[in-house]
Amino acid sequence: MNGRLKRTLALTAVGVVLVIYLLPIYWIVATSFKEYGDILARPPRFLFVPTLRNYAALFLLPGQGLQATPFAARLLNSVIIASFSTVLAIALGTMTAYAFSRFRTRGQSDWLFFILSTRMLPPVVVVIPVFLMYRALGLFDTHVGLIMLYTAFNVSFAVWLLKGFMDEIPKEYEEAALVDGYSRLQAFVRVVLPQAVAGIAATSVFCLISAWNEFAFALVLTQRTAQTAPPYIPSVVGSGATEWGRIAAGTVAFLLPVAIFTFIMRKHLLRGATFGALKR
């Protein structure tokens, strides 16, 4: 086969692949702008008169205009819980990764194994005792409860990822700062952190996405006050008929922030996804 034909074929294939991956997403976006009748049309309608009714139903209370609707409240909960837990997981993860990277600790590999193994636990296994514990502590259906849990689950991942990044930062930089008159903590803040920015960004993308999308813990441990969007969206079914339009609108509204965030952070994503296994 000659090179040119091969290339054309390959690029066509890329196009087909792209369509396959994006079609479901397009479909959900389109559905969010459809009227009930268009959604359940047979054959499915690709052309339709778009409507904002589904979004209005989610974000506007009938007759009361812009007020915190249940969905908006869930979305806000998601924002609060995902961002706080990400910040905390990154803060703790950075410190712990630094400590493991720079200081000699007895049984270091065992500790690291322990930390990563907590990430391997299925949420459904952990959620049973956590439910009982939160009941006893009064943390059921609270923001703090979910933030702590998500932080714990993300910190293990963060430590593992960030340690790889920390190992790549030559320790001479901190040593230089140490002899230049700074304490270990100052050296960490002023010299190590600025250089770990790329790694921290990559890690936070992953932590944020996993906290944002988490379902099982939120399903069991929240009721209303601290409920996040993922367990709520499947419940936007409406009464009398399945409100696919509203579900789609909720899905799109929920996807948008993380899609934008991902797009901004896409360069770091690649590094994060390879777990620092690819040294550059």
Binding site: Y36, P234, S239, G240, A241
Partner: protein, 448 residues
């Protein structure tokens, strides 16, 4: 270094603040607001409407929290298990009574004494009061007051049923007039008649695995065929549930599947059956009456004007006898022990049961259990389906309400859904249910 500490401190302060927000504020003894948990469906909207009336009269705000059916039980029990005080009234399913009574989980406060002082029990239809409020049956202990009484019924396309061509064809084929069925056997003929894939199918039935769908759909067929869950005195299941009537009933129920649309294995309460009907995909659709407002609504159902309704039919059992049983739906008001506003909640329930309020409830679309209101012409003509609903009332029956109902339900849901799917034969499925139910009831001490 200073930055580092500041960041840490800031984070902790923020956490502490949020902990403050997360905890629900403890409320004053006489609350200005009560929160009612109910499933997401039209009756909850009516209750919300009615709540505004109550607010006008008393100043107490009524908030109705609607939770979708598939998650309703899970969420409420999680809240109970957590001792969560979010809800002041729970409009709970009848099966829950046992588990939530003081005999088991002790989540509901007992209403027996309160009812004696505050309610006229004779004003309420006894089937409703018993099925939706009493546990254990026959002891006179009450844990709930009927809120919405519901039953399984059918919607049908009058335009098809009344089409002269269809009528003639039907008569030629079956030798009788095309009319809403009186028995399940008639229903099967009509369903077969209208099955013309892929445009039209005969019927949409409760086949799905969600919550209690297939159980609610099949149990009334089972009862009407002469079957039963157990021996009411000894709780014996083996040889009762899986007797000839039970197996024949399941064979019959599964036998309806060819007349249902593709994917009907997952059709559930208040969603897929309604969707299929609205789409014009089926001639008849099964659902609880409380979901029929969606079918009477022309914005959702293009056929709303030509939609008729009938209660679940009777059946002629293998023994040749005709019986008539219908799965009861609907729920009663209960007050969770964890509520901080129990007094206010009880005040609301008392108010709700008054006759004028019941009349208003009925006019909004709610299904009353008040004898007088139920018989009133005003109620019967309030909606296109109320008459059918009232006709269903004498035949209502319920699933287990013992504390182990959850486990029992998982078994029937799994096995009967498997039978519908053709994974298991009717005999195997019924045997399996009998075996597992026996084990559960034995463990719980009901079977000695």
């Amino acid at each position: 270094m200073r930055h580092c500490w500041m960041a840490l401190a800031g984070g902790l302060v923020a956490l502490a603040l949020m902990a403050g927000c997360g905890r629900k504020p403890t409320q004053a003894t006489k609350a200005q607001k009560i929160t009612i948990a109910w499933a997401q469906w039209a009756p909850a909207d009516y209750l919300s409407e009615l709540g505004k009336e109550y607010t006008k009269q008393t100043g107490t705000e009524v908030m109705v929290e609607q939770i979708p059916w598939p998650q309703y039980q899970d969420k409420i029990f999680a809240a109970f298990a957590a001792g969560d005080s979010t809800y002041d009234i729970v409009v709970g399913d009848s099966q829950w009574l046992g588990r939530c009574s003081a005999l088991a989980g002790n989540h509901y406060i007992e209403l027996t004494d309160w009812m004696k002082k505050n309610l006229d029990a004779s004003s309420i239809v006894p089937q409703a009061l018993m099925n939706l409020g009493e546990y254990p049956k026959g002891t006179g202990r009450y844990w709930a007051v009927p809120a919405e009484t519901d039953a399984v019924g059918f919607a049908y396309r009058r335009d098809l049923f009344e089409n002269p061509k269809e009528r003639a064809a039907f008569k030629a084929k079956y030798g009788r007039d095309l009319a809403p069925p009186k028995t399940w056997q008639e229903l099967r003929d009509i369903a077969a008649f209208f099955t013309r894939p892929p445009e039209l199918y005969g019927v949409a039935l409760y086949f799905g695995k969600q919550y209690d769908t297939v159980t609610m759909g099949f149990q009334e067929v089972m009862w009407s065929f002469g079957g039963a869950y157990d021996d009411p005195k000894t709780y014996r299941v083996q040889g009762v549930l899986n007797d000839d009537a039970g197996v024949k009933a399941l064979q019959f129920y599964v036998g309806l599947k060819p007349f249902t649309p593709p994917g009907s294995e997952s059709f559930g309460i208040g969603k897929e059956c309604v969707d299929a009907f609205n789409k014009g995909l089926v001639a008849m659709a099964e659902d609880f009456f409380a979901f029929f407002p969606g079918l009477a609504d022309p914005t959702k159902n293009p056929h709303a004007k030509v939609t008729g309704f009938f209660p679940s039919p009777a059946a002629i059992g293998p023994d040749g006898k005709e019986r008539h049983y219908i799965s009861i739906g609907g729920q009663g008001f209960s007050v969770p022990r964890y509520s901080k506003n129990q007094e206010t909640a009880l005040d609301f329930i008392k108010w709700f049961c008054q006759e004028p309020v019941q009349l208003k409830w009925a006019s909004l679309g709610g299904f009353t259990a008040n004898k007088k209101v139920l018989a009133s012409e005003k109620f019967l003509s309030a909606t296109p389906y109320n008459r059918a609903f009232a006709a269903a009332f004498p035949y209502l029956r319920d699933f287990y309400a013992v504390p182990q109902y959850g486990e029992l339900l998982t078994v029937t849901q799994t096995e009967w859904n498997a039978a519908v799917n053709g994974q298991k034969s009717a005999q195997v499925a019924m045997d399996e249910v009998a075996k597992q139910h026996t084990a559960i009831l034995k463990k719980a001490g009901f079977i000695k």
